[in-house]
Subunit: 314 residues, 3 copies
């Protein structure tokens, strides 16, 4: 998320009751969690295991719960609970928005766009020209829809990320990371019925131009789908995935988080993708491998009894 204007680390430290380590005259331009962080951003880290990652990241300001020395060009702000401090900062600059009317007053809708009855659109949503938004679609606040986009009934654009911090005290608790990102849908996208495309935690979930999505598809937070992709029914894509241009995912494919599927890759139905895949190949199975190898593997499995016959007397 971009901040509305540069904010001084002094203000931030004061607001969070934190202590500045390093350059006290720094300014921040955005807030982003570690996967999305860019130069100028505030991020947070609260676990020893990730201190190094955070300190070596592009972040300019790091909310942290241990007194470490600030790397050159970075400012640390020491707080008791960096996760909570981060959430507090997000909420300050991105006030909570809950739909009070079906169509919020602040929405912008392009010429030729038709919005069916029983659609709900939150604050600050922008919709381009010549779109069709079918009944019972919900678009949460701040999402951006391009031109000639079709969204079928029951689809939910921009619900919160499934992103919690586990606190294992007396009872386990999952504390919610506040989502301040958006969903951005580019031109000529069609989204089927009853899909769910979650907003980014701090950045954007992106559906590239000309991509077509079938029914009951889930797209997680901060995932970026390229241009001209085909996503068949009931596919599930976790958070912070990159799907490059012209990728095809057939029905019920599952894609794990934090990985990349390369340009023009095809993943056959029901496959599971636990790690990155190179482009230009056809994949199949769990874990998804090149389909020709996987088919051979299935054939080999069927030959185990034959092998057994050969070796059983050994």
């Amino acid at each position: 998320m971009q901040l509305p204007a540069p904010i001084s680390v002094e203000w931030i430290a004061k607001y969070l009751h934190g202590e500045i380590i390093g350059n006290a005259h720094q300014q921040a331009n955005g807030i982003n969690e570690i996967h999305q962080v860019r130069h100028g951003d505030i991020t947070f880290v609260d676990h020893e295991k990730y201190y190094k990652t955070a300190l070596q990241s592009a972040a300019t300001v790091v909310l942290i719960n241990q007194r470490l020395s600030a790397p050159a060009g970075k400012t640390l702000i020491l707080v008791d609970d960096p996760f909570r401090a981060y959430n507090q900062l997000v909420r300050h600059f991105h006030p909570f928005s809950f739909p009070e009317t079906s169509l919020a007053q602040s929405i912008q809708v392009g010429e030729g766009t038709r919005i069916a009855p029983e659609v709900v659109i939150g604050e600050h949503v922008q919709i381009g020209k010549d779109c069709l938004i079918y009944p019972h679609v919900t678009i949460y606040d701040h999402c951006i829809i391009g031109d000639r986009v079709i969204i079928h009934s029951g689809t939910v654009i921009g619900a919160d990320a499934f992103y919690y911090k586990k606190r294992t005290g007396e009872v386990w608790q999952y504390e919610k990371m506040i989502s301040c990102g958006r969903v951005v849908i580019e031109n000529d996208v069609e989204v089927g019925a009853n899909c769910t495309i979650d907003k980014g935690v701090s950045g954007d979930t992106l559906i590239g131009a000309g991509t077509k999505i079938d029914n009951l598809v889930h797209v997680g937070h901060d995932t970026r789908i390229g241009k001209g992709c085909l996503i068949a029914a009931q596919v599930g894509i976790a958070g912070t995935v990159i799907i490059e241009d012209h990728v095809t995912l057939w029905g019920q494919v599952g894609v794990s988080k934090d990985l990349t599927i390369g340009r023009e890759a095809v993943v056959l139905a029901q496959s599971g993708v636990p790690s990155s895949l190179k482009g230009g190949q056809i994949y199949f199975g769990y874990p998804a491998e090149e389909a020709r190898y996987k088919r051979r593997e299935i054939a080999w499995i069927k030959r185990i009894p034959e092998i057994w016959e050969k070796v059983k007397h050994l």
Copy 2:
């Protein structure tokens, strides 16, 4: 389902045109199908195969289609079609409720709870304090929602159980079991978008406190999910499952009916769970096994060609 007051077996037998076998002065306090039955309840049995189970169950009153002798402390009511008689009784004490307005007059909503436009809530629903009910959520009659619960757009709470009796006459017919149970969602639960959580057939479908559910998740009738669980997107859980506390189910996992997943178990993405799993372990694959064994199995499969090379000349 609890009855509004104790009901005499004489009244029940008369209402159903049935014949009392055993104690004619018994009273019933509830109606429950065999999986949920407790002392004081009416249940039914209509297949020889299950007579023994029903007669040895906790039920106090059993609707049955064969003249057996009543075990001590139980009353049998002989009827032609126990399934239909049971349904008839359920409907008498749980009159059919269909939403006539978006928000039924009888609903109770706690302070601080916000209900978005285009939400439909049925009769006798109770919602606690400080909840967020997003657009296009449907809550069927009699469901109970705790405090600080968040339900995202398009989610359906309390639709009927998928539970039919097959009648194989000239044509097969599936006769519907009438659902008289509820969905009970405890405090601090978050349910994602476009989920479906079915009501119990006769008892409650339960989502324990602090559990977080992602998008497009299905939870079947009478299933009880513990506290502090994480259920990722597109997971499907059948009916009458017990998920203990702090269980994690990753994306697209499927769980069969009538089983238990133990405390703190983790089931990895796309796994299928056909039978009960002990707590505290990480599971994977179909049928779900401990992940470390399953991973070895995948490695072994890849070695079949190597084995073949060794034995092909034998």
Copy 3:
């Protein structure tokens, strides 16, 4: 799709700026893509690979982009872009319909049918007697619902087929095939919550009498499900599938396009069906095979280490 009256090929050729090859006095009664085409129909073909199929099909009129000689009894209409010409013709005879009100004026609803608040029903929909249509259901234009049908909340009947023509020019583009078919749901069907049943591209998607469908199920365009089937939660069925009577598909099963599942087949949970299955058997796994063989296969896999022990010193 049936045409409102027989249309002369002369009119069609003129409308499409095409050239008639063969009988110029032919008339057409319907428009159908190649999978659904019947005698009297117009269809199209635009790829050399399929010329033969189209010319040997039941079609009476074929829109084509190559000057071939017309087989006996057929008329070819030569156009630059048969796909686009076909779409143009479909749109002419099946004008685009977008919901402007929750309940279109042209809908017909039988006696005893109850329609909940927040339901949206498109133009020319027919609903039979004694149905229950729960909140947030969307029924797109022209769909036909029988008697005593129950449709639970959030289900979408009749959204467009997921059917595009890929054009690989400078950038890939997916051009949408216009769906002019319908969904036809016969008597006594129950459809769970948040399902999606797509309309036919040119014919009907059919749900046979007495079939029961659980939640979050996807049924693709032009698929025909028989009578008395059971389809459990999160099943996905692609387009142009035939499911015969009394088939049972358990949870999360996936069915590929253009295949047939025979009468009384049972497909166990999470299985994938890539090709046709004979009736009367129980199937399991991916690719779905008879369950007893698949279970043996799973057992064989577990014996690979034992085999290795026997051969490792060879």
